[in-house]
Symmetry: C2
Subunit: 388 residues, 2 copies
């Protein structure tokens, strides 16, 4: 759409930006960073940067553990983005000097009971069938890798390439990177696309994209807890742990500073209240898997709204009727892992490059004209060969 | 100690107060109210009124349900104070115009499982043996009285005279009453008894009394949750509910505004961190007894420190070596219910009246000179006939 050029003159309110990005979450900020670094004038509109789903998110980079039945195209995108994460993290920290909590100890997937393990094994077999690195562990190997696991955890498997990052560190780092590259933050809300004036508009507004574009993006509530190991020590486990515990599916993400993120519910609701039942179920499952958590401080219970779509996959590309408006939303549970590839591929589109074939399944027109936000909708029906 | 007289001239910093009360929790404020209303010049010292245990307390007025084995003298004091509550509440609301959430629906005591019920019945039999009003209910009567109880709750009993008040409304009301009666609030901390200058000093500083007096008052941590019924409606139950649930002992206190207080742990610790395990156990027990709580908002999780004593009973009266210093502390789990009688009897002592025989078991010298804060210490050994 736009061609790259040498860096812009110092930005000013008088100069019309090349790109207006609506939304300063990780997706919007990373797109702004990439576009600004390639010489475009970029304005990012958000009254409260980083206040959306990313403020709640755990930051797992788990394309393997999140490879679910019936989501092969999404899994492909997750894997491609996760593969970009090491370089993306290194570049971001090098550019900004900000540590973002990128950790590579890998992810342990466990089942508490026999039934839990049977359910987990069915998924591991599917993941292995895709050729993904999932290594079942003998009980002794599981204990050796994480001695803090409850003795009654029946079994587990390692996904060594599923890593983590801290979204609450990531967003300020991306903001710094985008601003250093020349992007300008405009702290006003955008209530309509006509509120912004640029050659290209990128809608990276999470759940807010629905009102701006009519796309079928709906809020999917997630409740999540933050615990802290007592006395300022690091948690007693190193891996991200994803577990089935008496039918409850939870994850536990340890941070170097002692924090443990314990999540998350998946609810078809648009409120952000924290409910007693959800907190109780999360804590019960967490403590059952890792008994030491009972002694941890409970420091935060919060709910966020993921931007969901009918097929659980993001919407990446021009609106059907507005080629100058690019959607970059609908990332649902996968916004953090999908940040690098979304930024790169959307920046390519902004610059008029030939669309990466990876984008084909995620076009904005795949839901049809009268799409409405429906839970559990069909798989995308448009295949890559229909893509321009 | 002091004789009553006509109301003091307008207070001024230059006039030495008759009474300095250290601590502006409900106990200290009620004592200040009673003393000021009887014509004494009163100064109440506290940098943060109402910020101690009362800010966390549930406000149950439960002398019957809290009548435990081996605490007959304490039970007597609880009953005597609870009997004063209706008039105390009426007078306070009349004086200040402030509603304090005094409710008289009574308390249901329930057992979830057969084992829980067996444990509860043992206590009910003890309470009935003391002649206290405890009415076992048939299962149909229990359902009729609180249809929101889980169907699997095995049995219950009603303590119709155990009521409740809202401590977060009580404290501002007492503060208003004390100030209207002429008491002056001094918002400075008292680090030593020499920091105050008055004819009589009353130490109503909760856990802070230990450092000021050397009395064996120790912090007993309690973690407590506040839930809220969705959509601003009142909770689906009217009684205070105290239950044994799979061995966990919890209480649920419904407020007219939709709040439900769910507590509490009893821990020999002096920190105020909220731990994952405690929250999980409280919620699990609460939801098991009243399933609708699962849908309630969890709005607060907080810990407070009760002022405990070796025999779980308060310390009321002069220090052994300082007849001009009166202790009114060590109220442990019973500070709210004991507020009226503590205020009345301590005001009597300040005014030099003959001590009420009720005070005899709660003298400050009952622990001996070298008393240390020990959990589960012996019953008081000084009987009423040794009292002056």
């Amino acid at each position: 759409m736009l061609t790259g050029r040498s860096p812009s003159p110092p930005s000013s309110d008088r100069v019309r930006p090349d790109v207006a990005v609506v939304g300063a979450g990780p997706i919007g900020l990373a797109i702004a960073w990439r576009c600004a670094a390639r010489g475009l004038r970029v304005a990012v509109h958000d009254p409260a940067p980083g206040s959306g789903a990313s403020a709640v998110a755990a930051g797992m980079l788990s394309p393997v553990a999140e490879a679910y039945f019936g989501e092969r195209q999404l899994t492909g995108l997750l894997l491609a983005s996760a593969a970009r994460w090491p370089a993306f993290a290194a570049e971001l920290t090098e550019t900004t000097g900000v540590e973002i909590g990128y950790r590579t100890e890998g992810t342990l997937m466990v089942g508490l009971t026999g039934d839990d393990l049977a359910e987990a094994r069915r998924l591991w077999a599917y993941q292995q069938g895709l050729g993904l690195p999932v290594t079942p562990l003998r009980p002794s190997e599981l204990r050796d890798s994480e001695p803090a696991l409850a003795p009654r955890v029946r079994g587990g498997a390692l996904a060594p390439t599923d890593h983590q990052v801290d979204p609450r560190l990531l967003v300020p780092a991306l903001r710094t990177a985008a601003q250093r590259a020349g992007a300008v933050l405009v702290p006003q809300p955008v209530r309509s696309l006509s509120d912004v004036d640029a050659s290209v508009t990128v809608v990276a507004a999470g759940c807010g994209a629905a009102a701006l574009t009519g796309l079928p993006v709906r809020p999917v509530k997630g409740q999540i807890l933050r615990l802290r190991a007592p006395d300022g020590v690091a948690p007693g486990f190193r891996h991200v742990i994803r577990g089935y515990a008496d039918g409850e599916h939870v994850y536990l993400v340890p941070r170097a500073d002692g924090e443990v993120v314990l999540g998350a519910t998946v609810e078809e609701r648009s409120d952000t209240t924290v409910t007693a039942g959800a907190v109780q179920r999360l804590l019960r499952a967490g403590v059952d898997l890792l008994p030491e958590l009972a002694e941890y401080d409970l420091v935060e219970a919060v709910a966020g709204l993921r931007p969901g779509t009918p097929d659980n996959a993001p919407i990446l590309g021009p609106l059907p009727d507005r080629p100058d408006v690019l959607a970059a939303t609908g990332h649902h549970r996968h916004g953090i892992v999908l940040t690098p590839i979304t930024a790169d591929l959307i920046a390519d589109l902004v610059l008029g490059c030939v669309p990466d074939p990876l984008l084909a399944p995620f076009r904005a027109d795949r839901f049809g004209g009268a799409a409405v936000a429906v839970s559990g909708g069909p798989e995308p029906t448009l295949e890559g060969d229909l893509w321009s």
